[in-house]
């Protein structure tokens, strides 16, 4: 029969309406306030961040439900029934918990439509972030139900929305230096991500997450116990979980929230696609795979068609430090810390720059005085491979390089077809070993011909 009553409560109490409202507000905020999420971690953390809004809503929904007995004036009738209050409130507490839990998951599912794509990285550390959020929602409704039954006024619920928002959203931003948020911020249900947004390579430490989850579980336990308590003495006892929870959780919390964001080793591991074209990239960048496929396919196909011993896979180096080593011969290496920041055509040009070999640090010149002839030579190789004119000047490639390129490309194309191929191949070999020598001369000078 408990199940039957639970079903009635799910349909007739505030549960359904509150769940829908929270899910709708949450999905809206998650869609409206952020660019597409590049990993599940990023989405999960932003969902936790929106708890500044959804948590007070759940609290208020609980409170509105909690004053039902008083509002409906059934207290007299219910007081004469044998079933004790602690049993009586279980179905409605369960209904509200199920509603906000479902709302939280629906919110996540709905906002997953705002993921970059479904290839985004799902790290193991994401699951505890979501689970802790769901726990926080349950704590909110139970605490709300307790407050509603203790303070049965129509004003309780609206006041809780305002007070909750002030406490969770306004107060921390007024009082705390965003760079030095203390670990006790984890007493709040929301969670802010790593500074600088390193969601792709960082994860929340298990210890910090556990301490927060423990605290929230204690909060939920106190809420439910307070709601179920019929006598003042039981109400006093209901505060016990919160005290025990705080006593254990607070010392376990990190000194600063940011220090709990740690490197996700698995995220940095390079993984390769199985299908064609073969692309290898750090696991956490898997969101970019879909974007890279077209240019990678075209680059590999172009090289295979035009040059001997063409590479068979694209390796994307996402580390933004200058690339020092040389890739193996079968690998086309693309240095791109943020691959989706380029247009697909830019990516193609970058992949084929220097006939598919990364620039040599010893030849490219100083940052403020780059070697324009070297840069031009690499671009001409790409233009010859693509059989297109070089793009407009950008970045370190200045106008002077574009002039050199146009002349060199014309000269290269004037050579016999076999000669053209041999010249570009020479340039590639030189790039592979970072051998000295003027790249424009390699492509065009009559005396460099073998």
């Amino acid at each position: 029969m408990g199940a039957r009553i639970l079903r009635i409560e799910l349909r007739r109490s505030l549960a359904l309406g509150a769940g829908l409202l929270i899910a709708a507000v949450g999905v809206f905020v998650l869609f409206a306030s952020n660019p597409p999420y590049r990993s599940w971690m990023e989405l999960a953390v932003f969902q936790r961040d929106t708890m500044q809004l959804t948590w007070p809503l759940a609290l208020a929904a609980g409170a509105w439900q909690g004053i039902r007995e008083r509002r409906s004036r059934v207290a007299e009738l219910l007081a004469t029934t044998p079933r004790p209050r602690r049993r009586r409130v279980l179905p409605v507490a369960a209904a509200m918990a199920i509603a906000v839990l479902a709302a939280y998951l629906v919110m996540l599912a709905g906002a997953s439509g705002h993921l970059w794509n479904f290839e985004v990285y799902l790290s193991a550390g994401t699951v505890p972030i979501i689970a802790t959020g769901a726990l926080a929602m349950i704590a909110a409704v139970w605490l709300g139900q307790a407050l509603g039954s203790l303070l049965p006024s129509p004003l309780t619920a609206p006041m809780l929305v305002v007070a909750g928002f002030a406490l969770l959203a306004v107060l921390p931003s007024l009082l705390l230096d965003p760079d030095r948020r203390p670990g006790t911020m984890l007493l709040f249900p929301q969670l802010q991500g790593p500074r600088g947004g390193g969601y792709l390579v960082q994860t929340f430490s298990a210890r910090a997450n556990l301490s927060q989850a423990l605290w929230l579980a204690a909060l939920a336990a106190t809420g439910l116990a307070l709601f179920a308590a019929a006598r003042p003495a039981t109400r006093v006892a209901a505060v016990l979980p919160i005290l025990v929870g705080a006593a254990i959780a607070v010392p376990a919390m990190p000194r600063l929230v940011d220090s709990a964001w740690v490197t996700d080793r698995r995220a940095a591991e390079v993984v390769c696609t199985r299908d064609d074209p073969k692309i290898c990239i750090a696991r956490s960048y898997s969101y970019a795979l879909d974007y890279l496929r077209g240019p990678a396919h075209e680059a590999l196909a172009t090289l295979a068609a035009k040059l001997p011993r063409a590479p068979t896979r694209v390796l994307v180096e996402t580390n933004d430090k200058p690339y020092q080593g040389r890739p193996p011969a079968n690998t086309l290496l693309l240095v791109a810390p943020d691959p989706t920041a380029y247009t697909p055509d830019d990516l193609l040009w970058r992949m084929l720059d220097g006939a598919g070999v990364p620039a040599c640090p010893n030849l490219i010149g100083e940052l403020d005085k780059p070697n324009q002839r070297y840069i031009a030579g690499r671009t001409v190789a790409a233009a010859w491979l693509l059989d297109r004119d070089p793009p407009r000047a950008s970045g370190r490639r200045e106008e002077s390089a574009v002039g050199i390129e146009q002349q060199a490309l014309a000269a290269l194309r004037a050579l016999p077809a076999g000669e053209q191929k041999a010249r570009v191949n020479t340039l590639r070999d030189a790039e592979m070993t970072c051998a000295a020598g003027d790249r424009i001369d390699m492509l065009t000078a009559s005396d460099s011909a073998p």
Binding site: I5, I8, R12, E76, L77
Partner: protein, 267 residues
């Protein structure tokens, strides 16, 4: 429709009266609303009459176990309230319609009565049948699946009666159940009362003396928290004697005659 009968129901009663109050005093707020009441009631329909403020509602609330006696004793189904007693077991045997009957507006009538049946700790398997029976008995079969908030005042009152009888209580307490009922519904209600009274101790508080005369086997008249008359309806009618007092029926004249005599004695 069959239902299982628990051993508790078929057990012979080992007590003298279903409800017995001795020197009962019950506080309502700061006032002693029931003040030294001696009253014994058995199976049957007991009409509880008395002027406003006589202590009718306070008496019913104390029998419903909402209020604790301040002094004296109140014994229900052989158990004396207070101290170490099986309050939970006793409450399973009570049906109660409060004067102000609150309900959950969003629930359908069937759901609400099911909810009350669950709170009365009825066996799970019996609940759907018992709920249907209770709804049928108050004549709301066609409204069973309507939301409570859509019911008219009279229907709400009948739904209140249905929730009170859903557990086949041994003590049924109805505080002004006929308020809001139309004449036709009152006639049906009287018939229901007579039927219930065959195996239940029903205590009905009302201002309508004719209801008592027509449907009750016993009349209880209280004033200022004390019993001033108890007898069968015929005794009430006879109490008027030959005098033509206030009232349109013999029972009403009897009621006013008893009240007048009581006031004279007090003075």
């Amino acid at each position: 429709m069959v239902r299982t009968v628990s051993t508790a129901e078929t057990e012979p009663a080992n007590y003298g009266w279903v409800i017995q109050a001795q020197g009962l005093r019950v506080r309502a707020g700061r006032r002693m609303a029931v003040d030294g009441l001696d009253l014994s009631m058995d199976t049957g329909v007991h009409g509880l009459l008395g002027p406003n403020g006589a202590g009718k509602t306070t008496l019913i609330r104390s029998i419903a176990t909402v209020l604790r006696p301040a002094a004296g004793s109140l014994t229900l189904l052989g158990q004396t309230l207070g101290g170490r007693m099986d309050l939970r077991g006793l409450r399973r045997q009570i049906g109660y319609l409060p004067q102000e009957f609150g309900f959950y507006r969003q629930f359908t009538m069937r759901e609400f009565i099911e909810y009350i049946a669950w709170l009365k700790e009825m066996p799970t398997a019996e609940i759907p049948g018992a709920v249907q029976r209770a709804i049928d008995r108050v004549g709301l079969t066609d409204r069973a699946d309507h939301r409570m908030k859509t019911l008219s005042g009279g229907m709400v009152r009948r739904a209140g009666i249905a929730q009170a009888i859903v557990n086949d209580p041994q003590i049924l307490l109805l505080d002004e159940p006929t308020a809001g009922l139309d004449p036709d519904q009152r006639l049906q209600f009287r018939a229901l009362l007579r039927e219930l009274g065959t195996d239940t101790c029903v205590l009905v508080s009302t201002h309508l003396v004719e209801d008592v005369a027509a449907a009750c086997t016993d009349v209880v008249l209280i004033n200022a928290g004390r019993l001033i008359f108890q007898g069968v309806p015929a005794d009430l009618a006879a109490a008027a004697g030959d005098k033509t007092g206030d009232g349109d029926s013999a029972a009403e004249r009897g009621y006013s005659a008893i009240m007048r005599r009581h006031r004279e004695k007090e003075a």
